[in-house]
């Protein structure tokens, strides 16, 4: 049996899954001031009557780090940024204690200008004086050569509780994102540590000695232990949890659009043969653009509780939410009220819903039913047009080879899956309007926790080889090797896959779930003065996000 536990802002959802399907589900209120109690009470309830040794795995998903960032509730952090020539690093300032310093590394990883240890020591003193325990260190092109980040780390390491290094956070190029990602990792570290401690304490009480995992933004998991070095990877795992929960119901060898229609927002994502499409660079949150691997999701301010009004004679829906639907005690009309008026929703206070929609009908000069239908139409049509725009964006992603431009995969969903309370009411209409078959994800109230429970461990490795300079590296994995001119692309692929396997297993992957995929495989002849001087090889491999293979057939069980 496995456990999925999703700590939301207001509720904590917990599920217990077995080969026979969903064994139990519980919902407990989240007490932000005492997480330990929320997690423990959730675990207590879900494991009632279950022997601890029957449980093999638990995955936790949390919105705590996300909320801390969105609410800008972050502690002071020290940031040391070595840029060299280029865009002024002052533009990428993340916080007050942000120090651009000297030192420069070029695009091939060659040192152009060393760092100045005295400068770092001065900054270190300043930070210590301000009582700052966490520091982020980032240099430009550190993923080609991390020696400056490491040299700065050596100076700082004994004086701070934890130092986060840019090159360990992602192997991808993007200096501004490396800065913000390193900053966020440092900034959410204390709040994540609290969560970590709460889980460890709860689990110890339950005498559970099982692999513990944390859900990441890419819909995969990492071990709880690993999350302490990369706490930033837990951000925006909320939408990922629900999307992963839809996978058992998604078609194989087809594209599928997933719509998670909530009260305030609708989140959307695309699955290709049950594998979610990932954001090419990394997720964005608040005003931070990051290198954190994440699902490609799009969120719009339209949901069951969106505020409906008439402006300049035109119907407007969302993005604000003014509270619940009038049918459920709210003050302003919503799409949910329209569904009540149409008769699709039977519970709730129909009288109040009618009153609300009547205001809209009066302003539009329409009969009540017409107005309700207009609101309903506008709601799902907006959702579909936004989904189409998202798919267009995925398909218009720039590519850099003739081959990809000509043969590039085009997403074309043949099925839509809807998650969320209003899902059943929308299904038929969305199917008629879009011309695409629509399915509804069962057990939608706990799809998030189910998604967390079923998620595999994922990770990525970026590998680089330069035979002219005679080295291969993957700084994120702390891998450096001297190579000679005979090093080939096949050698590089083999090495990258080895590193990936080791990393995945280290992060807690099941050996049977290591579905490896090559994301980038480029080799360039380096020519200087009309002579070939070496090869420049770039490889990127990943473990695909997906659900645990032993639970691949759980969908049928969940439908029961």
């Amino acid at each position: 049996m496995i456990i999925g536990l999703d700590v939301g802002g207001t509720h904590t959802d917990v599920v217990l899954l077995g080969k026979q399907g969903l064994i139990n589900e519980v919902k407990v209120p989240t007490d932000a001031s005492n997480l330990f109690r929320s997690v423990l009470s959730g675990l207590n309830k879900i494991t009632k009557g279950v022997e601890p040794q029957e449980i093999h795995r638990a995955v936790f998903s949390t919105t705590l780090t996300t909320n801390a960032i969105v609410q800008n509730n972050l502690p002071p952090i020290g940031m040391i940024v070595s840029s060299g020539p280029g865009v002024d690093p002052e533009f990428f300032r993340t916080n007050d204690h942000y120090f651009p310093v000297s030192g420069s590394i070029d695009h091939r990883g060659r040192e152009i200008k060393p760092i100045d240890p005295a400068e770092i020591k001065t900054i270190s003193k300043t930070l210590k004086k301000s009582g700052i325990p966490y520091v982020g260190v980032v240099s430009k092109f550190s993923v080609r050569n991390p020696s400056h980040e490491l040299a700065i780390y050596e100076i700082l390491k004994d004086d701070f509780e934890k130092v986060f290094l840019g090159h360990r956070i992602s192997g991808n190029l993007n200096f501004p994102r490396r800065i913000s990602t390193t900053y966020l990792n440092a900034a959410v570290y204390p709040i994540h540590k609290e969560f970590y401690d709460a889980i460890i304490k709860s689990i110890e009480q339950k005498w559970l000695h099982i692999p513990l995992h944390i859900l990441k933004a890419d819909g995969g998991t990492m071990s709880l232990e690993a999350s302490m070095d990369f706490p930033g990877q837990t951000i925006v795992s909320g939408p990922a949890a629900s999307i992963m929960g839809s996978i058992p119901f998604a078609p194989v060898q087809q594209d599928c659009l997933v719509l998670d229609i909530g009260g305030t927002t609708t989140d959307m994502a695309v699955l290709i043969d049950r594998v979610p499409v990932l954001d090419p660079l990394g997720t964005s949150l608040s005003y931070y653009k990051t290198l954190i691997r994440s699902l490609y999701t799009h969120s719009i301010g339209i949901g069951g509780d969106s505020f409906v009004r008439v402006e300049d004679g035109h119907l407007k829906i969302g993005p604000d939410r003014k509270g619940s639907a009038m049918a459920y005690g709210g003050q302003s009309p919503t799409p949910t009220d329209a569904l009540c008026v149409i008769g699709l929703i039977k519970d709730g206070d129909n009288e109040k819903a009618r009153n609300g929609i009547q205001q809209i009908a009066d302003q539009l000069g329409d009969p009540l039913q017409t107005a309700a239908l207009k609101i309903f139409d506008a709601t799902y049509k907006k959702i579909i047009s936004e989904a189409r725009a998202m798919i267009d964006r995925i398909n218009s992603k720039p590519v850099y080879t003739i081959h990809e431009l000509q043969e590039g995969y085009k997403v074309d969903p043949k099925q839509i899956l809807i998650i969320g309370g209003p899902a059943p009411y929308f299904a038929r209409h969305i199917e008629e309007y879009s011309g695409i078959a629509v399915g509804v994800v069962p057990k939608w109230k706990v799809a998030n926790a189910i998604g967390a429970a079923l998620a595999r461990t994922t990770c990525e490795v970026v590998f680089f080889a330069d035979t002219e300079r005679g080295f291969a590296s993957s700084p994120e994995e702390n891998f450096y090797e001297s190579i000679d001119r005979s090093f080939t692309r096949d050698d590089a692929l083999k090495k990258a896959n080895e590193l990936l396997k080791a990393k995945a297993l280290h992060k807690g992957a099941n050996p049977e779930d290591l579905e490896l995929e090559v994301l980038e495989d480029l080799q360039f002849n380096m020519v200087r003065g009309f002579h070939s001087t070496g090869k420049n090889i770039r490889i990127k491999v990943q473990v695909k996000p997906g659900i645990l293979s032993e639970y691949a057939d759980i969908a049928e069980m969940l439908l029961v």
Partner: protein
Amino acid sequence: MLSARHKTGLVFFPAFDWAISPTHPEREERLLYTQDQVFEEGLFDIEGIIEFKPDLVLVKDIQRVHFCVPDVWNVTTESHFISAGGAKTIGSAVLSKEIERGFALVRPPGHHAMRIVHGSRGFCNINIEAIMIEYLRRAYKIDKVAIVDTDCHHGDGTQDIYWHDPDTLFISIHQDGRTLYPGTGFTNELGGPNAVGTTLNIPLPPNTSEEGFLHVMKHVIKPVLDDFKPDLIVNSAGQDNHFTDPLANMNFSAQGYAALTSILQPDIAVLEGGYSIEGALPYVNVGIILAMAGIDYSKVKEPDYNPDKIRQSSEITKAIEKIGETVLSYWQRRNSLRDQIQRTEGFDQRTRSIFYDTDGISEKQKEKIRPCNDCGGALCIDSSSDRGHHILAIHIPLKACAKCKETGYAWYESADRSAYGMVVLQDRTEDIYLEKK
């Protein structure tokens, strides 16, 4: 947060799977380090900088500009359709006001490709700027266009295509043709009899540095542009004037390129040459992108940049000032020069030999133009190559007067089909391309 003052579009298409040959300067690796630098600087994340996927041009877009011999497929590869397509994508986005400015960072380049194409010259097969401009003229009804070619090599292809067009001002600034390929682009090359002065050449001595380029930009090119008042300014943004370029001998820098771009304020820039792939391109391209977007570029510097070391001598400064004066005076006297030239009776003719260095083809051309003060004039080119092709190509310009149109069709109708491999007509007034059966 960092945001662009001018909303700027980019097409970045490095064609990582295309080369003229494995060790050719125009090879897969050319924009690799530029990509690294552009990605690492996070330029595509800047608010107001938008990356577009390139469209492909159509055969029709190519035939609006070129006569390809024996046909389009024989003288192009997919990569040419994409690089011209990238320019077209950027041009369309600018004119549909999706973006304020745009930069097509594409390869292969195009500015050595002339109106008639038998093969590749100077690494170019089709003229990507001209294909873009003529598409934009058709789709967006723009009229006057200025092309400022800042590649180190004379933009002889673009010059050839617009030689007779009074509505297209072509200005090329390049290393003196006596010292560099293609060996043309002297100040006295001013355009055909119907378009005298709308071709201007500014050959600069080897070792010209920032001072010289910026002098010419401010004191020659800018005033001419202010006078001409184009609807659109296009920059053929070659980057081989750089002090590290292996194929040329100039002393320009990333700072200089960025400053030049800020002064010129092009609506559209299109990458041309530039073969210092590690030492120059990564920095020059970042500089140009920032300058176009109106973002501070003062810290964009090559690792080995030392302005004192590359500063030009006072002799060079004087020589450049003098060239500038000559060019300006040609521009100011362009109407009287045209009257002088047009005084000759009948059709104006010229005979030329053209060498395609990349493909090793020799071409002979006999060209005649109808002198006309109402339009660019009907143009007829008899072209043969040492590959055995022989073509009669007739061009009726976009704004052709009735007389010139009539003349063009008369040439086409009366041509002896059996004397040529092909007889073709480009009637731009109807946007059609005809081949005589």
